[in-house]
């Protein structure tokens, strides 16, 4: 028996596909998420919109909260560590969380280097804005990626931009003549072996979810139709006026993302979605997506 292999790490992400991973800050939220049909929860101290409002330094969540959430639900529990903070990651692994998100939503601990994720038995998910960034994280050992979007804004525009960039990158590599691959790898700053793999298979080597901006069922279906394997919903659920209903609606459309009649049915009488932010109104140094490289 072998534990912590690439297959079991990337395989868990495959089991999450077609599902919704919800940010939760306490066991009560976690229960609502599980009851709504979430395929996993992300245990946090504050949802991204509150982190954004609070400012200061955002760190790994209080381990007591994570532990309480792990005891409450039977679905996988994820938790975030700061970019480059491998000791927070060691602590989360020792606690037994099922996935670690090395996340730009927290304040980075290292401005040059991400965590070397191959050393861990617990799998990691990392954010990206384009294919090069995705492949750098996979090269470091991320077993799942997610496009970053702009967390805590309730604005889908950045999520769309990043998903399109990743999907366009994949289709370009798939059809590029072989002699162009090394130059492509150089230009996008990606490991050549992964560039070659995408050229050969025509798809990403790991599961890719969408994150950062989903606030409505239609947003979730949009990201699925653009090629996401599933969606992370951060503030979008527990900052809406009826979290349980919103959570169930997003779960349903993530399965039936191409079925407009189901999108219509679940979108009625949902109450208010979370308040949204215009990305242009956010000062450049407060954008979360530009954290990490």
């Amino acid at each position: 028996m072998e534990t912590g292999t690439w297959k079991v790490k990337s395989g868990l992400a495959q089991m999450l596909k077609g599902g919704v991973i919800m940010d939760v800050v306490n066991p009560e939220h976690a229960k609502i998420a599980e009851d709504a049909g979430a395929c996993a929860v992300m245990a946090l101290e504050r949802v991204p919109s509150d982190i954004r409002a609070a400012g200061g330094v955002a760190r790994m969540a209080d381990l007591t909260i994570i532990e309480a959430i792990m005891k409450t639900v039977s679905i996988p529990v994820m938790a975030k560590c700061r970019i480059g903070h491998f000791v927070e990651a060691q602590a989360l692994e020792a606690m037994g969380v099922d996935y670690i998100d090395e996340s730009e939503v927290l304040t980075p601990a290292d401005e040059n280097f991400h965590v070397w994720k191959h050393d861990f038995k617990v799998p990691f998910v990392c954010g990206c804005r384009n294919l090069g960034e995705a492949l750098r994280r996979i090269g470091e050992g991320a077993a799942m990626i997610r496009t970053k979007g702009e967390a805590g804004t309730g604005n889908i525009v950045e999520a769309v931009r990043h998903m399109r960039a990743v999907m366009d990158g994949v289709s370009q590599l798939a059809k590029a003549p072989r002699e162009e691959l090394m130059t492509q790898a150089k230009e996008m700053g990606a490991p050549f072996e992964l560039v070659l793999e995408i050229h050969q298979t025509g798809k990403l080597p790991v599961v890719n979810f969408s994150a950062g901006g989903v606030a409505t069922p239609a947003d979730a279906a949009l990201m699925m139709q653009l090629g996401a394997d599933g969606v992370f919903v951060g503030s979008g659920i527990f900052k809406s006026s009826n979290p349980s209903k919103m959570a169930q609606a997003i779960v349903k459309v993530t399965t039936h993302y191409k079925d407009a009649s189901i999108i219509v049915e679940v979108s009625k009488n949902l109450g208010d979605a979370m308040p949204g932010l215009d990305i242009k109104q956010i000062p450049a140094d407060e954008l979360l997506a530009s954290r990490g490289w």
Binding site: T3, C39, I75
Partner: protein, 194 residues
């Protein structure tokens, strides 16, 4: 031969790819209408709570139960195995209760306890099967006429067949070995003749 793969949530695309490699038409099933004309059904790995809720909400639970009771071959892997079995004292999730065993979820621990092993499955031949167990369930208590297909070294039951139904605690859709899918298609062929 046309096989449906339940696509409520989970690794359904992986099963579809394996079935297509074996030359079979494979289609995703999200709504009851898509069950029409199937020769077999696969319930994939995923989150059993999530799949169970979506199945119930879109009226798939009763339909699948009826079809399976009338002989439709069904293969369940991991979450799919949970959904084929029974739960102790009505614990979550609500299952199809088609096979005579109770199932323990997350039986081996959390994700860091997930593992790969070479598993002896005599029904597939002498060569062991590369079995991937991810937050896997196990068959706890057998209450009926169940054919045990595989056990771990410590005796834990991780694969079983009961007539037209096959339950595997591991993920054949994540490996290149097609023998589990071929085994299931042989059962489908057998039931088509009936």
């Amino acid at each position: 031969m046309k096989i449906g793969v339940l696509a409520s949530q989970g690794a359904f695309a992986e099963h579809i790819a394996k079935l297509q490699q074996l030359g079979v038409e494979a289609v995703p099933v999200r709504l009851p209408g898509e069950l029409a004309g199937l020769d077999g059904l696969v319930i994939p790995g995923g989150e059993s709570t999530s799949i169970s809720k979506l199945m119930r909400h879109y009226h798939l639970t009763g339909e699948i139960k009826d079809l399976a009771k009338n002989g439709l071959p069904v293969l369940g892997t991991c979450a799919g195995m949970i959904l084929l079995g029974r739960r102790e004292n009505g614990a979550d999730p609500e299952t199809l209760e088609l096979m005579d065993f109770t199932v323990r979820r997350n039986a081996f621990g959390r994700q860091t306890d997930s593992f790969e092993t070479e598993l002896a499955v005599p029904a597939l031949g002498e060569k062991p099967f590369p079995a991937v167990f991810i937050r896997a369930p196990l068959i706890e208590e057998v209450n009926g006429g169940l054919e045990i297909l595989a056990r771990l070294a410590d005796g834990t039951i991780v694969a079983a067949r009961q007539g037209n139904l096959v339950a595997l605690a591991f993920h054949p859709e994540l490996t290149d070995d097609l023998r589990c899918h071929r085994y299931f298609l042989d059962i489908v062929a057998e039931y088509r003749k009936k």
